[in-house]
């Protein structure tokens, strides 16, 4: 495709204008959709499986850039069951972060947009009376009800129902994710004051201190401190405390340890392990570190170039990887058992640019187990076991009886 172009593979002026024009149209439409007003019924939905709290189905999140449409997430589907840890793994740029940002609806518009698909989330909310106040249940709590929202269809003005209270997020960059001009205490209290009905400043402070203790910080030391006075590891703990403060049903941890020192990484992982058992909720853990996944996750989703290529339980993925990419990933992981003279395996080549995707399997150029079929259309999901799925032509026969 590039070969026939004379100016060294660059776009022509005409093409650039065409891209700009179609982008502008699409972005305008999607922005209007995001900012619309609509009744609740329009974004209420039903779970496919009642045991899940999050079901992502056929999600498409695109970035409309000047170079063309980047299909960062291109038809991703996976579920997060209740009280479980789901690990999403893949190379940088494979769309795993964009998927999680889509769940929080934090994709930066107008360039980034959820184009298609649904994100069903089972939220647990206070029942509100006519005045918008929660109704006490007589036990010191409030009456709750479960509702299933399709987050992808929610207008932006309703999104605060989900964010923070139902789904909380821990970001990759603890150094810059805390507001530098507010104290840790102020930023933590804010969550409680926002989400807990009838919370006073005193209650919020107590809650914040509890949360700080939970993440292994002595509250007296940091409550009145400013973020810049804390180390990266401490800040990440504060971020985790902040995520926990509203007792969300789902915590998305987006590469929570990547920006930290190795020793601190281990501490934060231990903390997450610990918290996993203490809270009544699920964790969606996004990482490129297979070790972290093996340690923490119950289910694993492997992503490649904006698509899910394999998913299953942690045992299935680690003991019986099917997709050549997953197999490659496992092989490229250094272990102590390897002999000194064995070379570390590496997968040749790079992730393709998600602007101009081929119609065949995206991994084909880098795959060592290619068959003739691979030049055909993109492989569909093949069920290997009740929980194990893989998108590769090598296993096409299994569909028949799977």
């Amino acid at each position: 495709m590039a070969k026939e172009n004379s100016n060294k593979g660059y776009l022509s002026g005409k093409e650039i204008r065409a891209i700009a024009k179609s982008n502008a149209k699409e972005m305008k439409r999607l922005e209007a959709y995001k900012n619309r007003r609509c009744p609740e019924s329009e974004f209420l939905s039903q779970m496919a499986d009642d045991d899940n709290i999050l079901e992502i189905q056929d999600l498409h999140t695109f970035f409309f850039t000047e170079q063309g449409v980047v299909k960062a997430v291109n038809g991703v589907s996976y579920d997060v069951p209740k009280n479980s840890v789901v690990g999403v793994v893949g190379e940088s740029g494979c769309g795993k972060s964009v998927t999680s940002m889509s769940v929080m609806r934090l994709i930066q518009g107008p360039t980034g947009q959820i184009v298609d698909g649904s994100i069903r989330f089972k939220s647990n909310e206070y029942v509100l009376d006519g005045k918008g106040q929660p109704i006490p249940d007589g036990d010191g709590g409030y009456r709750m009800e479960e509702k299933v929202y399709d987050i992808a269809k929610m207008p932006m003005r309703e999104i605060h129902r989900i964010r923070g209270k139902q789904v909380a997020m821990i970001f990759q960059e603890p150094m810059t994710s805390l507001n530098p001009v507010f104290t840790i205490g102020q930023q933590l209290d804010e969550v409680t004051l926002l989400h807990m009905p009838g919370a006073t400043k005193q209650i919020a402070k107590e809650k914040s201190e509890d949360m700080l203790r939970l993440v292994g910080i002595i509250p007296e030391n940091v409550y009145n401190a400013f973020p810049h006075e804390l180390s990266g590891g401490m800040r990440q703990r504060v971020m985790i405390a902040m995520a926990l403060a509203a007792e969300p049903r789902l915590i998305i941890a987006d590469e929570p340890t990547t920006a930290l020192d190795v020793t601190i990484q281990a501490q934060i992982l231990d903390l997450l392990q610990d918290i996993k058992n203490k809270i009544d909720g699920s964790i969606l853990l996004i990482t490129h570190d297979l070790g972290v996944i093996a340690e923490m996750a119950d289910y694993v989703v492997v992503m490649y170039a904006g698509k899910v290529i394999e998913k299953g339980t942690v045992l299935e993925i680690f003991q019986d990887p099917r997709h050549p990419y997953t197999i490659g990933l496992q092989k490229s992981k250094p272990t102590m058992t390897l002999d000194d003279d064995t070379e570390l395996y590496n997968i040749p080549g790079n992730v393709p640019n998600p602007i101009d995707m081929p119609s065949h399997c995206y991994f084909k150029e880098r795959c060592s187990m290619c068959t003739k079929k691979c030049s055909g259309e993109y492989p569909g999901m093949v069920q290997v076991s009740p929980t194990h799925f893989v998108a590769c032509h090598l296993y096409d026969e299994e569909t028949a009886h799977g």
Binding site: L106, R163, G164, P180
Partner: protein, 331 residues
Amino acid sequence: MLKYIVKRLAYAILVLLGVSLIIYFLTRLMPIDFVKNKVVSVQTSGATVDQEMVDAMYEAYGLTANASFGDILQGYLNWLGDLVRFDLGTSFKYGIPVTEKIAMHMGTSFIIALIATVFEFMIAIPLGITAATHQYSLRDYVVTILVMIGISLPSFFFGNILKDWLAYDLGWFPPLGLTDATMDHSGFSLILDYGRHVFIPILTVVVLSIGARMRMTRTNMLEVMNSDYIRTARAKGLKERVVINKHAFRNTLIPLVTSLAGLLPSLFSGAIITEQVFDLPGIGNIALQAMNAGDIPFIMGYNMFLAVLSVIGVLLADLMYAIVDPRVKLE
């Protein structure tokens, strides 16, 4: 903290020394015969300058005929010595000490500049924020175009246009001066009279200065809105209004407050052109008239005064930065 301030002060004095050197030697570029002529012409016209004063000044500025380098240096040191004692000499034109003349007119300039600055901040900040939060929208474009026109207007042109239109054509405001000499106002009506006189000048200054402030706000706000902690604030479930007005605005405020502190001293310096256009008795207009009359002591004194103000401004801005931004520690 104290150590930092002392260090900065010493440093400021160094800068002022440099400035004084430049001002003095620029003045020295003036041919001596010309200075003599000027003094004589001032003497014959106003006769407010007596010979003793002239001699004293000649000596102080080293303005002897055929001055050697040593004389010039001696002149500089004399002038510097007077400067340190806040003695800027006696103005040719006004016949009173320069410091006294500056002090007399500083107030007028300050009041006008202060009111203008308050309006400038009050209008520019909301405009900047709304332009940033609606980046690339029609609103952003309209605000940007309007303030850019404001930045691009020469003060003498815009001031005269307003004067011609609002004062001469429509007759809503008096065109010149600070008070109405034909009326004897007192109390509230005097203030009202002042208000009517300074309205157009203030309007001129505000329109001209809003742009820079608005663009500063917009740029900062855009930077802040793209930062990770704003994403965190959104992820907490805060409504967009709270995210902007609380989390983003507090951060945008840092450079704004800092710039306000830096601006404070310069409010005393007077707006030369605006005061000239509206014939206000502010320090800028006085200085302009002094310059046209070749009043050397006054011009030198006024320039030093401005330099001191801007040095103080820089100092204040630094201190303010340390106060409003918890990340900054003075050392």
